[in-house]
């Protein structure tokens, strides 16, 4: 119950911030799109598996939008298409990588994303290489919007998707298949003894994570209106895992909280220290891991618990 109130408060605060500071609308839209991708990473982390290649699915969603934009002018359709393509690739790759665990799982994901990155960079005729592809601004739900109105529409779309996916994933984590994810991490063999296929459980979570990353990538493409191969680069995958740990894996609010803090720190650090913003992010990450293992959500929980005791 406390968490539901917290989610509502967070959503309200987000809208308030976007109203007060118009330039934050873009930053927050990007943060929500990152949060969507990280939500999927979080599910895999529940199973103790870390993917160093999920930027592949973000890029799949984003490039699908860029490729289909000349043929369709509807943002909602483009987002859906991005998610479907990402899930399709996720199925192909997932069938293979879910046979592996730990470092091999991480490295294979990395390998596939690097293959995608170099294809995006080298197939110039199709992808325009490192220049990337410009995306013309589409209509949203049939409305041709300009400037601020488009930004608002996209932010609200991202927020709606974030709330829905967050709710659905929270539900999924309480189903038997969702609970089994935790068992993959602790004792996979016992899971198999109980008659549950660990591989299948992991594949399901993997497909959901590819879908969510695809949605996130599509939203990001619609917000920046430009896609480049860097979306698929391994450092971007690393950032997604970073945000997951920053936010904490204890609750579905974590990825979004982490993503908003991450993007804000990045924007401010990049503006004040153009050559050292990565260093600042790295130090923040070290601090979180060494001091607060459960991430921002853990901190919030501790605060709530203290508050509850006093009340």
């Amino acid at each position: 119950m406390a968490h539901r109130l917290l989610v509502a408060a967070a959503a309200a605060l987000l809208l308030l911030l976007a109203t007060a500071q118009p330039w934050l609308r873009f930053v927050l839209t990007i943060a929500l799109s990152t949060g969507l991708a990280v939500l999927g990473i979080m599910m895999l982390l529940r199973a103790g598996q870390v993917s160093f290649g999920h930027a592949l699915y973000v890029a799949a969603g984003a490039y699908t939008v860029a490729f289909l934009r000349p043929h369709s002018g509807e943002a909602l359709f483009l987002v859906l298409a991005g998610a479907v393509v990402a899930t399709g690739i996720g199925l192909l790759v997932g069938l293979f990588v879910t046979r592996y665990r730990d470092i091999f799982f991480g490295m294979l994901n990395l390998a596939f994303s690097m293959v995608a990155w170099s294809l995006l960079e080298k197939l110039y005729a199709l992808t325009r290489g490192t220049d990337g592809i410009r995306v013309a601004r589409p209509e949203v739900a049939g409305l041709a919007l300009e400037g601020p109105a488009y930004e608002w529409a996209l932010l609200l779309l991202a927020l709606a998707l974030a709330l829905t996916s967050g709710g659905l994933v929270a539900r999924y984590l309480r189903t038997p298949a969702g609970e089994a994810l935790g068992a993959v991490k602790t004792r996979e063999t016992r899971l198999e003894f109980a008659g549950i296929s660990a591989r299948r459980v992991l594949l399901q979570a993997y497909l959901v994570s590819a879908f969510l990353a695809g949605v996130g990538g599509a939203i990001a493409a619609l917000a920046t209106l430009h896609v480049t191969p860097l979306l698929a680069y391994w450092t971007h995958s690393g950032e997604l895992v970073f945000v997951a740990i920053l936010g904490g894996t204890g609750h579905v609010l974590g990825p979004f909280l982490g993503a908003v803090v991450f993007e804000l720190v990045r924007v401010y650090a990049a503006a004040s220290f153009p050559d050292a913003w990565q260093m600042i992010l790295g130090l923040v990450l070290l601090g979180i891991i060494l001091a607060a293992t459960r991430g921002l959500v853990g901190l919030v929980d501790d605060l709530l618990a203290r508050f509850g005791r006093r009340a």
Binding site: M107, L108, I245, L281, G282
Partner: protein
């Protein structure tokens, strides 16, 4: 065609030498610490930058090879213990995911450190390559530095490392800790010192790889980033913790990559990963890896 093939093989050998130096340190550190060090590539880059700076300071061409050696030793001796004692020692009891992320954070920090110390302008110091001149192989003139020195140093490093691990007390302690930490500690091996020395050796090898690579390419921010993902591919393809395996795989991937450069340039970056995926499809623990028994 034949000439092109020869050129590709020579390129491949030189590249494999560099790749091995980085990958072997990574696999050695993983074997003992059980941490995959994402910042390993940054040590490669820092080794390269320090080497380039020293070559510039020393000025004389004859001293440039010395500069490479000093750079590798200095970076290894400075960064190795600092990172292991200062950071990694605090996280040995944490989850694997968190350990991986700590080294990712370190990678981010070291990447910017390079930009702050050496700026973003490309640097090019090729004194060692000029010093050693060229040799002729089958009608092709090739720099002696890349043809003889790079693979030579890699081979010597491999032999020394194998001798060190098999024949010296510290080396055998390292192997013991790799196999079973608890048993090793029980018979009186100082695991703390083993961790420290292993990481320092690994850091030194990465820095040496970087120092050797410095004269052959112009240094720009991000040189370590490409190297680290490639050495991940080498290490995973070989099987984790396999030292001789890393050498064979580095050779395989180095040759495959340079063949791609000449005959299918679009595939240059993809080839190592395709090789890795193909190998892991058939041998899930890598070419030389052994399947671990499942502990119930």
């Amino acid at each position: 065609m034949g000439l092109l093939l020869l050129l590709a093989v020579l390129d491949g050998l030189a590249y494999a030498g560099q790749l091995f130096m980085v990958a072997v340190g990574l696999t050695l550190v993983f074997g003992v610490l059980k941490i995959l060090n994402v910042a390993h590539g940054s040590l490669f880059a820092i080794g390269a930058y320090v080497a380039a700076t020293l070559i510039g300071w020393f000025g004389a061409e004859e001293l440039s090879l010395l500069a490479l050696a000093i750079a590798a030793l200095a970076v290894g001796a400075l960064f190795g213990p600092a990172i292991e004692r200062g950071l990694l020692a605090r996280i040995y009891d944490k989850e694997h995911v968190l350990q991986l992320l700590v080294t990712f954070a370190l990678f981010m920090i070291l990447e910017d450190l390079q930009k702050l110390l050496w700026g973003v302008q490309p640097r090019f110091e090729d004194a060692p390559v000029r010093l050693l001149g060229q040799v002729e192989v089958g009608g092709i003139f090739y720099t002696a530095y890349q043809l003889l020195l790079l693979p030579g140093v890699a081979l010597v490093a491999l032999l020394l490392l194998v001798w060190f691990l098999r024949r010296t007390l510290l080396g055998r302690s390292i192997v013991a800790v790799t196999h079973d930490r608890e048993a090793a500690v029980a018979i009186g091996i100082d695991a703390r010192f083993v961790y420290l020395s292993t990481f320092t050796i690994g850091a030194g090898l990465a820095a040496l790889g970087g120092a050797l690579a410095a004269p052959t390419t112009s240094l720009v921010p991000g040189v370590g980033v490409q190297m680290i993902v490639l050495s991940f591919a080498v290490v995973a393809t070989a099987g984790l913790g396999q030292i001789e395996g890393a050498a064979v795989t580095a050779l395989l991937i180095g040759l495959a990559r340079s063949l791609a450069v000449y005959f299918a340039p679009e595939l240059e970056v993809v080839v190592p990963y395709l090789l890795m995926v193909a190998v892991l499809l058939v041998r899930p623990a890598g070419l030389f890896g052994r399947r671990e028994l499942r502990r119930v």
